[in-house]
């Protein structure tokens, strides 16, 4: 932009405030909590309210403070195989779900991008609308469908694919979790893919066609590589939050569905072990640092 001098935030107090207000808000309510969670993950559990020994309480006593820190909670995470399994299972479920989302979302985004200009806004609206309706409601809707005496059983019995005594055994299994995740995150996958595919120059495909390139080959050589930024953005937007997902595995998954978001919730709300819950969160965050960095990089390029 031309007037870089006028953009200097020090030039005018009002202009400086524009930066300072959101900056300080995010430092206080987004960054500071991460420092605190890291510190509390290093403190002992105490039977009190709040249920941990205070790590704060005197910035002067820094030496005391350091000697009080211990990695007991982290050691506990490595000792009990449950936590390791929960992390691995979360990553596995998130990876498989992201792949399924690409498999379903890509054809949809491609079909939308190839649709006539006149109906594209309507198609876009149809994808965005479920994104606005409550996550919890959409997960809840599947309980009525998937439960053993639910609508899917009824439908299959009615069309004769299932005997009157048989029931669908999907509810409270990993399959139900996958259905719930794919259903809830589909708009998040379709929108970035569509944004990438819509921008594509069709003359490239026409040229390939004229030169005798078969359509499937043109897809892999031209369409897919050009849509890669959308694929990466969509995959990260889905993969990262799915790894920490709580509502879907809790409502649709079974007792054996291990996901770290559920583990954290249980440690916090049921076992009231705040330091351990903090340690669980810190490890989850460290696991997601690389995907988050990829996502941010991608976003910066788009903006």
């Amino acid at each position: 932009m031309a007037d870089t001098t006028a953009d200097n935030p020090h030039a005018n107090p009002a202009r400086w405030l524009v930066v300072a207000v959101p900056y300080l808000w995010l430092l206080l309510f987004f960054v500071a909590p991460f420092l605190i969670i890291f510190k509390i993950s290093l403190s002992d559990t105490a039977i009190a309210m709040p249920p941990y020994t205070p790590v704060f309480g005197g910035w002067a006593a820094i030496s005391d403070f350091v000697s009080e820190l211990d990695i007991e909670n982290y050691l506990f995470l490595t000792e009990d195989p449950l936590y390791f399994q929960a992390y691995m299972s979360s990553l596995r479920i998130a990876a498989i779900s992201t792949f399924l989302l690409l498999l379903i979302g890509y054809p949809m985004a491609l079909a939308m991008a190839r649709a006539p200009n006149s109906i594209r806004p309507i198609l876009l609206m149809l994808v965005i609308l479920p994104f606005w309706t409550s996550f919890l409601i959409r997960v809840y809707a599947w309980i009525g469908i998937l439960k053993p005496d639910g609508l899917l059983t009824l439908a299959l019995q009615t069309i004769g694919l299932m005997g009157p005594d048989e029931q669908v055994e999907i509810f409270r299994t990993d399959t139900a979790v996958f259905i719930g995740i794919v259903y809830s995150y589909l708009p998040f996958m379709v929108l970035p893919l569509y944004a990438a595919l819509e921008k594509m120059d069709n003359t490239l495909l026409e040229a390939a066609n004229d030169l005798g390139c078969p359509p499937w080959k043109a897809f892999w050589k031209i369409t897919f590589p050009l849509s890669l930024p959308g694929v990466i953005a969509g995959s990260m937007i889905c993969f990262i939050p799915i790894t920490g997902e709580f509502v879907i595995p809790d409502l649709l998954g079974g007792a054996d569905t291990l996901m770290i978001g559920k583990t954290l919730w249980t440690e916090f709300f049921s076992n009231r072990d705040w330091p351990l819950a903090s340690a669980v969160a810190v490890v989850l965050l460290l696991m997601l640092v690389v995907p988050i960095a990829i996502f941010q990089n991608q976003q910066k390029k788009v903006a």
Partner: protein, 272 residues
Amino acid sequence: MTKNRLDATVLTLGFAFLYIPIIILVVYSFNASRLVTVWGGFSLNWYVSMWSNQGLMDAAWVTARVGLLSATFGTILGTLAALTLVRYQKFPGKMLFSGMIYAPLVMPEVITGLSLLLLFVAIGVDRGFWTVIIAHTTFTMCYVAIVVQSRLLTFDRSLEEAALDLGCPPVKTFFQITLPLILPAVISGWMLAFTLSLDDLVIASFNTGPGATTLPIKIYSQVRLGVTPEINAICTILIALVTLGVIATSIGTKRAEVRRIRDEHMALRTGS
């Protein structure tokens, strides 16, 4: 032709997958029978019983207030953040700033919720109505920032520059020229922030306190006990409100967009 038919099939199946569960949910809110699989005829019973369920209505009122306040704060902060991202070329810590805007968009809710709660405990703030509002403001402002940012990136600055050249103070220029031009994006940002707040279970659960039970927390505790048509009824009302809101804003912003382009043309023509 075969390609078109394939595309049409893909879209039909995709949208069927997205919409059938919601349609079923809405249809069964009018079911006279308590059982999900039995259609007992049309009835508004569940809406009546929902209305007289004091706990549910209290939660709805809390959610409405939390949503209105946090969406408003989130929109103000988010718009400022968008201006910072687009208009301020370089300042110390800009990398950190854009990181703080993008990270909350993908951060798992359990991490955001827990870490913010620990902050409130550390600084000795009692959890309740206002802590939920602060939590919601923090994550919704990032969504607003993204929405407003995309509008600012395609913004024609000549009108703004004209006002500044004519001696209009920057703050006045913002309110008289910039804000009206980006208003459609600010309004859709507010709508998005409001629905995100309306929707949130996890972050609110960590940061709520006595007397500040929001609707998702209430719905969640009832859903865990099983499917009840009363929940279908309240869900149907929420879906109807959000759908109407989204359609109204999209029509409204489209009209404003048309008017804006016309005004811009007029202003530029009379100016030159």
